[in-house]
């Protein structure tokens, strides 16, 4: 069986040059029209099987949210393919995307900004269904109420407005809205980052239950390593728009191979520090900006093990063990 979602060599660049006057530069007295391009995603490939949860982790600016938004086709990718159920939707226009959106829904980070403040909860949850249903479908309202009950809201909540709810409850409304059209894949972009820990646990548990009940796949984006370990089957680690490592969840935590993954894991604060933890890899410096990527490996400027080849040649994602892919020259054994 083919994967439900296949992303191949996805590339997303943003031109932020601005107008002609912003772009005008003089180099040695010669006027040139400079372009400023943000290299947000640089050739990322992965698959999500039916029923699988893929977690994407990375620090701010690594392109994980851009990947999410590009797959949801909020952005049109500048390169690469996005195959949903075998169908390449990467260049679809709005009209052609409509049936695809039924299969792929999104939950957003900020539950205060992602719900229309002027709509009642009932209408928020019904709206995607109305978009996709036959005119005059009478079951929509009933289904909305069922969904609200399923995510843990009471019937009287249906007639209230978003501002009357707490952050956790709003995130529940967002989840009900995403599920209303029976999607197969839900893209969740930092869905619990804005919530307090006790509420975060409630939402994570709810999302796990719903996955089993509705047979969902998730693309789960987060910066929080303990959350990603909790929810994912497989994890991808991103850095500066590149996928540096993907592995099954436990494998990644027990045997991280990429120096960045190892640094990330040793930097994460834990209330259960690993007694057998290897020597900590401490990173110095900060992430380079995405206007000019470093030559060769994206991580070499901060990598304690970087050697000559790293600046010359960009490592590609290679299978290091079954299901465990890493983009690092160190694994080739020659230093």
């Amino acid at each position: 069986m083919t994967a439900f979602l296949e992303v191949e060599n996805l590339e997303q660049r943003f031109d932020v040059s601005g107008g002609p006057l912003d772009r005008l530069r003089f180099e040695n007295g010669v006027p040139t029209m400079a372009r400023r391009i943000v290299h947000a995603v640089n050739g990322v490939s992965f698959e999500i099987q039916r029923g699988e949860v893929l977690g994407l982790v990375g620090e701010s600016g690594c392109g994980k949210s851009t990947v999410a938004k590009t797959i949801a086709r909020i952005y049109r990718p500048t390169g690469g393919a996005i195959r949903v159920d075998g169908e390449d939707v990467s260049q679809y226009d709005y009209r052609k995307m409509l049936p695809v959106r039924r299969k792929v829904q999104m939950i957003f980070q900020d539950p205060f900004a992602s719900l229309n403040p002027r709509q009642r909860v009932r209408d928020i949850v019904m709206e995607p269904m109305i978009q996709h249903a036959e005119p005059g479908d009478k079951t929509i309202e009933k289904r909305a109420m069922e969904l609200l009950a399923r995510v843990g809201l009471r019937p009287e909540h249906a007639d209230r407005y978003p501002h009357q709810f707490s952050g956790g409850q709003r995130q529940r409304i967002g989840i009900a809205r995403a599920l209303s059209v029976d999607p197969q894949l839900v893209i969740a972009d930092e869905p619990v980052s804005a919530l307090d820990v006790s509420i975060q646990a409630q939402i994570l548990n709810l999302m796990m239950d719903l996955r089993d009940e509705f047979g969902l796949s998730y693309l789960f984006i987060t910066h929080d390593l303990s959350v990603v370990r909790h929810i994912s089957d497989r994890i991808g680690v991103m850095y500066l728009g590149f996928m540096v490592e993907t592995a099954p969840r436990d494998k990644l935590f027990e045997e991280p191979l990429h120096p960045y993954t190892r640094a990330l894991l040793s930097a994460a604060p834990a209330i259960d520090p690993d007694p057998e933890a290897e020597e900590e890899i401490e990173l110095t410096g900060e992430v380079p900006n995405a206007f000019d990527l470093p030559s060769g490996c994206c991580f070499r400027t901060r990598c304690p093990f970087a050697f000559e080849r790293c600046s010359r040649e960009r490592p590609v994602l290679k299978e290091a063990a079954s299901g465990h892919q890493v983009a690092c020259h160190l694994l080739d054994g020659e230093t």
């Binding site: 620090e59 006790s198 646990a201 909790h230």
Partner: protein, 330 residues
């Protein structure tokens, strides 16, 4: 209680209220704790717990409609609440410094970082310009900023988030304060940067034998940094004690629930133990124990009588009628 070395800061029965149109909010409601010299105290809790308000109350930075209504804030034996604003200004920055959450907004965008660090020395020392500049350069390189001399002339927007937080720490440390109050100092930062900043803060505090109050919602951060932990819920202390005991053997159901809500990094379990419900409205707290509506162990007594803080062994105390006794699985 064992004989303790003299506390640097002792807060007794602090009550801070906000008089809003919608009613009186008891943001901090009878909180007592102390910070020993050279000690790092972690104040933890979820939003609305009152942890930031405690920090502001200590420094006398509560603005109307808020007011510190009651209690004593003894700093080196002297009650800060009895000090005038003028006297407090001498203490702020020199004796007690604060590091805020957001390094983007706590620096002045129109002044170079050099001017901002220097301001502390101008106000709180009698060094001349040349000596101050030397101190600033030294401090800036101490917090891990390379080419410190050049960077003094840069403006905040020329620094990244992590670098700005280093500058804020330099400002806080330069006058040699005895107490640093850090309010969510790393919440806005990425994990790899967070770990750099936390290490830096710990090292600076230890080197200078200062004390620190670390205010955060992140139990994992607190468990790495603090010696003592105070857990707050709805403006009240539910539990306090030495870090190791409190984390391995929480006595209050709320602390246990918080610990269970955090996904473990090394020991993954299938389901998180969640705390049901949400934090009650602070203007309309339940009768009896604030936590009882969310507590799995609540009994009739919890609804009638508000639990008082009482001591357990090993310097710990808890505000619960039925404190937990079992040890959590490690």
């Amino acid at each position: 209680m064992s004989v303790q070395k003299q506390a640097l800061l002792e807060v007794r029965d602090l009550k801070t209220r906000f008089y809003t149109f919608a009613g009186v909010v008891n943001a901090v409601d009878g909180v007592s704790f102390s910070v020993g010299r050279g000690e790092i105290l972690g104040l933890v809790g979820e939003s609305g717990g009152g942890k930031s308000v405690i920090g502001f109350s200590i420094l006398g930075l509560i603005d109307p409609p808020g007011k510190v209504d009651d209690g004593e804030i003894l700093f080196g034996g002297v009650d800060l609440r009895r000090k005038s604003e003028k006297e407090l200004q001498k203490i702020r920055g020199k004796e007690i410094a604060m590091v805020f959450q957001d390094p983007m907004t706590s620096l002045n965008p129109l002044q170079t970082v050099g001017e901002q660090i220097d301001e502390m020395l101008r106000l709180h020392s009698d060094l001349d310009g040349k000596a101050r500049r030397a101190r600033c350069i030294e401090m800036l390189s101490d917090v891990g900023i390379s080419e410190a001399e050049k960077r003094l002339n840069n403006y905040p927007h020329q620094f990244s988030g992590g670098m700005r937080q280093r500058v804020v720490i330099a400002i806080a440390m330069i006058a040699g304060p005895q107490l640093i109050i850090a309010d969510e100092p790393t919440t806005a930062l990425d994990v790899t940067i967070q770990s750099q900043i936390l290490k830096l803060m710990k090292q600076q505090v230890r080197e200078r034998e200062a004390s620190m109050i670390l205010i955060t919602h992140d139990l994992a951060v607190v468990s790495q940094m603090a010696d003592e932990i105070v857990v707050l819920y709805c403006g009240k202390i539910v539990e306090k004690g030495p870090k190791q005991d409190l984390i391995s053997k929480p006595a209050h159901p709320y602390t246990q629930g918080l610990l269970g809500s955090i996904p473990k990094l090394h020991d993954r379990q299938d389901r998180l133990t969640q705390i049901p419900g949400t934090v009650p409205d602070v203007r309309n707290l339940p009768q009896g124990c604030n936590f009882r509506e969310r507590c799995p162990f609540a009994q009739a007594r919890c609804a009638e009588e508000e639990p008082e803080q009482h001591a357990l062994d090993a310097g710990r105390s808890v505000a619960c009628h039925f404190p937990l006794e079992q040890e959590l699985a490690p």
